[in-house]
Amino acid sequence: MSLVSFVKITKAFGGKPVLRGLDLAVDKGEVMFIIGTSGVGKSVTIKLLIGLLAIDGGEIWFDGARIDQLPERALGPIRKRIGMVFQNSTLFDSMTLVDNVALPLRKHGRFRGAAALAEARRLLALVYMDEHAERYPAELSDGMRKRAAIARTLALDPEVVLFDEPTTGLDPVSARRIDRLIRELADKLGVTAIVVSHDPPSIFGIADRVCMIYQGIAHVVASPAELRASTDPIVQQFITGQSSGPMETPGF
C-alpha cells in the first residue's frame, strides 16, 4: 500500500480550477518528483497534503488514514511525520541557524533547553552547515539557507519530506549538492521525498518516479527513463523545453 495517496483531488482559487481530479500515489522510501509548467498546481498539491491549503474535493490518505478533513490542531502529529522545505527557505530572520533548527524541536517537545541546541547542531552538521550555526539567515547564500532549511525540516525526524522547488535560484553546483542531499535522505535515512521541480538535471538525476501535472490532473506518472523515452508530445515538449508545441501554457 502507498504511503501517500491523492484521490480525485480538486482545488480552485477564486473560481478558477487548478486541480481537476488529480490521482497520485507515493510509495514509502521513494523520491517522487512532481513536474509541470508554472501555475499548474505542483506546490498546491504538496501544501494540500499537510493542510496548509484545504482541498475542495477528493481524498488524501497518509499511512492508511484519511487526513484531508482534520482540523488544524489534529494536523500537529501529521506535521511531525511530514516535513516541508519551502521554496524560499523561510528561515526566521530574527534567529540564528541553530535557533531556527531548535524551534520545532522545542515546540514539538522532543528536546528542551541545551539539549535542543545540541540536537540542532547535529542536524546542521548533517547538511554540512554546523560551522555556520551562529550566523543569521541574511548572512548566508541561497544554497546555504536551503541546506539549513532542510536541517530544520529534519528536526522532527519526518518520514516524508516535501521539497518545493529546492534548486530554483541556485547555481548548478549548489543545486547538485541539494540533489545529493535529497538522494542521501532517501537512501540512508529511508525518508520519502516528494519534490516539486522544473529542473531537468534534478529530475533525471535523482528521481525514482516522476508525476507530470497538466491541466489539473496527473498527465503521466513514470520513471525518468520512461519519461525520456515517452512519445507523448506534451511530455516531450516539457522535457525538451520547446516554446512551441501542443502544450497549453496559460499567460503565454
Partner: protein, 272 residues
Amino acid sequence: MRRRIIKRIEDLGAIVVDAARAARELWLVFVGTIAGLVRRWGEGEARSPKGELARQLHAIGNRSVLFVVVTLGFIGMVMSYQACLQLARITGDFSQIGQQFIRLIVTDFGPTLTGMMLATRVGAGIAAELGSMKVTEQIDALRMSGVLPIDYLIVPRFLASLVMTLALSVLGSVVMFGLGGLTAKLSFGVNPQLFFDVSLVRPRHLVIFILKALAYGAAIPVVAGFCGLRARGSSEGVGWATTAAVIGGSFAVIVLDFVISATALFLTGGDL
C-alpha cells in the same frame, strides 16, 4: 438586461459572502488570541520567542511616545484655543473652560485620539510585518514547526498593546491638558489655577478612560494581525494588508468609542 441584473445580484452576493467570511476570520483571530493568552497563563511558559514581549512593549510603546505626545499636544492647543475664542466672543467667562476640557479629555479625547494614532502607526507596522511573513511562507513554516502563529506573533503584540495604549493615553492626556492650559494662558490670559481644575472628574470618568484605552489596545493588534494574516500574493498583498489594517483599526476605535460612550450614558441615565 436580465443577465446583467443576475450578474449584479451575484456580485452583491459575493461581496456579502466575503464580508461574512472576513468577519468570521476576524472573530477567530480574536478568540484565538484570548485562547493563546489563557494558554500562556496556564502553562506559565511563553509560546513566543524569548524577550518578544519586551521587544513589543518597546516597539509599540516607546517608539510611539514622540508621535503621540506631539499629535495630542497640538490637538490640545488647537482645541483649547478654539474653545477660548468662542467663549471670548460669547460670554468672556473662562471659569469652566479647564474643568470641562479635562472632563472631555478623560472621557473621550485622551484615549480615543491616542487609539487613532496607534491604529495608524502600530496597526500598519503589525500588518506589514505579519503580511510579509505570510507572503514569504514564514507563517506556513511556523505552522509546520508546530507553532500556532497567533500564539507566537499576535499574543505578545496584544499584551504589549494593552499596556502601552493605556500608558500612552495617560501621557497623551496629560500633555494635551498641559499644553491646552498653556495656550489658554498665553492667548487669552486664562489663570492656570482656574484652568487646571480637575474637580469635575469623577471615578466613573476614569473607569471610562481605562475601558476605552484597553478596548483600543485590544482591537488594534487583533485587526492588524487579522489583516496581516490575510495578505496574499506578494508586495501588493502586503500593501493591501497594511492599508486595510489602518482603516480597520481606526474604524474599530471609532466604533468602540461610540459603543462605550453610549453604554456609559445609558448606565448613568445621561448623568455622565
